[in-house]
């Protein structure tokens, strides 16, 4: 990389001297020099040529001196660094120059080895400065991307929850700081049945958000056309596996509730099992159905299982942001934390039990960093 250095001095002999003494570095392509003879010319040059990396300037010059130039440089090129050349022992000007933002100084008569060393040190600083700037830009870009992902995620969550004369549903998602991949959905089906899905995409950021969108769309389409939850997951999984392969996958539990019979039929694709809580606060984890996360293995046949809800029962669905909630000592809460909560404060409704779960998790984690979204979805049979 060639660095372009602007030398500002009213002394006409300086230009050939610099070119001669720095010739090896010029030949090697490390430095390129441009010249100006006072502060005004220097500012014009900086404005005309944004590729200039640094300035070496004398102090005493006609029209505009070096100290004034130093004040003006940030207005033209904020990232430029300057070295001041001053008379030997002129501490007053040197101090003024440093106060006005000069990076370093050399004294006259100019020792060219010293000048070269000082130039290199300045360029090194400029490199580090640029690197810091680009890291900051990247962080800003990443933050923008995460904002987009986060908005996509929020936009697909239902805000109105279907209910029937004998049941209510409530869901909530508390996003992680760095955007996870949780979502839930509720689908009204034929014969007053209702479908509930809760899911967690394996990755973060925009690609995960897109994967989340397509998983959710596929699920919705499939849920409306297909009755059995196992068949729904089989279909969604096959569709997700058509697009090879980012290694992205989604764990999903899909269930159909029939208010006429109280039967809750569910299939899990690599997702945590449902927790059923009775009116007295006792609870029971239902068995897994042996399914693998969706998007991993095309052709997999998902099985389903079912149980009957008694009046007063609540089904709790959740993501691993609940079970893997970690306190400040680094201990996982596990589903036991939720079971203890309901043992001491039995659920009385969908919203109350859903928010109770979320608050229990937030209490447990305290100020520990939250790495994962926390999502809870509950159905309460009145």
């Amino acid at each position: 990389m060639t660095y372009k250095i602007l030398v500002v001095d009213d002394e006409p002999d300086l230009e050939p001297l610099v070119l001669q003494r720095m010739r090896r570095h010029i030949r090697r392509g490390r430095y390129e020099f441009v010249f100006a003879h006072n502060g005004i010319e220097a500012l014009e040059e900086l404005e005309a040529d944004p590729s200039i990396d640094m300035v070496v300037s004398d102090i005493n010059m006609p029209r505009m001196d070096g100290l004034t130039l130093l004040e003006q440089i940030p207005n033209v090129s904020p990232d430029i660094r300057a070295i001041i050349v001053s008379a030997y022992g002129d501490m007053e000007n040197i101090r003024t120059a440093m106060n006005r933002g000069a990076f370093d100084f050399v004294t006259k008569p100019v020792d060219f080895d010293d000048l070269q060393f000082t130039i290199d040190r300045t360029l090194e600083h400029i490199e580090q400065w640029r690197e810091a700037l680009s890291t900051r830009d990247k962080l800003v870009a990443l933050q923008n991307e995460l904002d987009v992902a986060s908005k996509m995620q929020q936009s697909i969550l239902p805000t109105v929850f279907p209910s029937g004369p004998t049941y209510k549903i409530f869901g909530t998602m508390h996003p992680a700081k760095d955007v996870g991949g949780d979502f839930f959905d509720i689908v009204r089906l034929a014969d007053d049945k209702v479908g509930l899905a809760i899911a967690d995409v394996s990755d973060k950021g925009v690609p995960a958000a897109l994967f989340m969108m397509s998983s959710r769309t596929l699920l919705k389409g499939s849920a409306i056309g297909t009755e059995a939850p196992g068949d729904v997951l089989t279909e969604v999984n096959n569709l997700l596996n058509e697009d090879e392969t980012t290694g992205m996958f989604v764990t999903m539990l899909y269930a159909v509730y029939d208010p006429a019979t109280g039967v809750f039929t569910y299939a899990s694709g690599g997702h945590d099992p449902p927790l059923v809580v009775r009116a007295d606060g006792t609870s029971e984890l239902k068995p897994l159905t042996g399914g693998i996360a969706l998007g991993v293995l095309g052709g997999f046949e998902y099985r389903q299982d079912s149980f009957e809800l008694a009046p007063g029962d609540t089904v709790c669905l959740y993501t691993d942001g609940v079970t893997e909630a970690t306190n400040q000592q680094g201990e996982l809460m596990g589903i036991e934390g939720i079971q203890e909560l309901f043992a001491s404060a039995p659920p009385t409704g969908a919203e109350q039990s859903c928010m109770g779960m979320l608050n229990r998790v937030l209490e447990y984690t305290g100020d520990a960093p939250q790495h994962d979204d926390i999502t809870c979805l509950t159905l309460h049979r009145d």
Partner: protein
């Protein structure tokens, strides 16, 4: 999270430790890729010292399994603690990645 690997014939045995989550999954992926060579027939991952694996970590295992499969090679896991074993059971990943109790069992299964 750190990885150390030993080679025995065409089988690489790699040990991971600590937490494998979103913050270090790409590092985990790069480490695994670095220990696999084209000529390898199998990778055994010893998870004895792994305390936690998130879905981002599972995704790396899935990608690694697919890479190995493409080379006609196998992936197996061994020595999982009970909570980690549970993660594989719930996610269903034990359907696609064989899990063994010990390194010796994994080696026997792969060569057998």
């Amino acid at each position: 999270m750190a990885i150390s690997a030993e080679r025995e014939g065409g089988t690489v045995v790699a040990k991971a430790d600590g937490r494998i989550d979103g913050s270090n999954a790409s590092e985990f992926q790069a480490d695994l890729q670095a220990v696999i060579e084209d000529s390898d027939q199998a990778l055994i991952l010893d998870f004895e010292s792994v305390s936690y694996i998130s879905s981002a970590g599972l995704r790396v295992l899935l990608l690694t399994a697919k890479t190995l499969e493409g080379n006609g090679a196998k992936l197996a896991l061994c020595s999982l603690s009970e909570p980690i074993r549970e993660v594989f059971r719930i996610s269903g990943f034990d359907n696609i990645i064989p899990i063994h109790d010990s390194q010796a069992e994994a080696t026997a299964a792969i060569s057998g």
